[in-house]
């Protein structure tokens, strides 16, 4: 049976006990649950990934745009054709609303400031989110078996083990997936969440929506366990 993330404390003896003790976060997820997560993360990755850059234009600009560094090309405010091409789907009126949830307007009253911020920040934000999702997918598909350092125990196939550093990125990836699933469920404010809960409780949801709600609840549960474990770790560190 699945269980959410828990901290696994590695006990060290003697001189090695000085200094920070590394934490590993471990969840037990069966193959079906891992496959579901990978499928969802892959979908979100395809939404968030910057669209392919148009093949024309300056090769350097294009490289920088692909690396999400368009705003660092020394040109300051000069609009780079490659950067514009790399986020043109953000200007498409028929764009996926999930994109707006992942990259919301950064200024609520000034559309020009929002557009300027988006032009500068979006390529980098999208590249980082994409890389983060790719890393999470990689963590879920690691199949190697081996001894867990210092414990003398091997990892079982259903263990999902994250280092401190991996855990933060994994929590962010879960957030991005929940934002997209939440958008599909039209969860835009707290009242929407209550309406959905009521519909679920009274059996008024159609089957696909009911399934999506179950997926959303699974993601919420998994993220909650991971976040609580990470908060617990911060408490231990006195931060």
């Amino acid at each position: 049976m699945a269980h959410g993330f828990r901290r696994e404390r590695v006990r060290r003896r003697g001189a090695a006990s000085r200094g920070p003790v590394p934490t590993t976060y471990v969840a037990i997820l069966d193959a079906q649950e891992r496959e579901l997560l990978v499928a969802l993360m892959t979908q979100v990755l395809s939404i968030v990934e910057p669209p392919p850059v148009a093949p024309h234009g300056d090769e350097f600009d294009q490289m920088m745009a692909e690396a999400g560094l368009s705003h660092l090309d020394g040109a300051g405010d000069r609009p780079s054709p490659a950067a514009a091409a790399g986020s043109e789907d953000l200007d498409d009126p028929d764009r996926d609303p999930a994109l707006d949830r992942l990259l919301p307007d950064a200024h609520r009253e000034d559309p020009l400031l929002s557009a300027e911020f988006r032009r500068i920040a979006a390529p980098g934000l999208r590249a980082r989110k994409a890389a983060n999702l790719a890393a999470a997918i990689e963590l879920l598909t690691r199949t190697e078996m081996g001894e867990v350092a210092g414990t003398g125990r091997g990892r079982t196939r259903d263990d999902v083990r994250l280092t401190e550093e991996e855990a933060g990125g994994f929590a962010v990836a879960l957030t991005d997936v929940r934002l997209v699933v939440g958008e599909r469920l039209q969860l835009r404010d707290d009242a929407d969440a209550e309406r959905l809960d009521t519909a679920l409780a009274t059996g008024k949801l159609d089957e696909p929506t009911g399934w999506l709600v179950a997926v959303y609840d699974f993601l919420t549960w998994l993220q909650e366990t991971l976040t609580q474990a990470m908060l617990d770790r911060l408490d231990d560190q006195g931060r």
Partner: protein, 96 residues
């Protein structure tokens, strides 16, 4: 005592007031982000102590939004970008 004409002194003061107005980074309530996760982001990204992170998270939750940082515009833009990277609904604006 200054001998500058009153009008030009007034202009200078106005300009300075405008430059001194700080900018803020806001985080808005949304139905998806978990309270625990928002607290974790405030503690991890800003390094805020537990009590402050918790209070800010509760402000977001109950009041719909909270000012999580104040300072020059460039810095608020950086915070906004970083917090959006965490998936929070972050914006920046001139303090009012």
């Amino acid at each position: 005592m200054s001998i500058a004409p009153v009008e030009s002194r007034q202009e200078l003061a106005d300009e300075r007031a405008d430059l001194d107005v700080p900018w803020v980074t806001l985080v808005w309530n949304d139905p998806v982000n978990l309270m625990s996760y928002v607290t974790w982001v405030f503690r991890t990204y800003f390094g805020y102590p537990e009590a402050r992170a918790q209070a800010l998270m509760l402000d977001v939750h109950h009041k719909g939004r909270a000012v999580v940082a104040t300072g020059p515009r460039e810095q608020m833009e950086r915070h906004t970008e970083a917090l959006q990277g965490y998936g929070l609904w972050a914006t920046f604006q001139k303090d009012d």
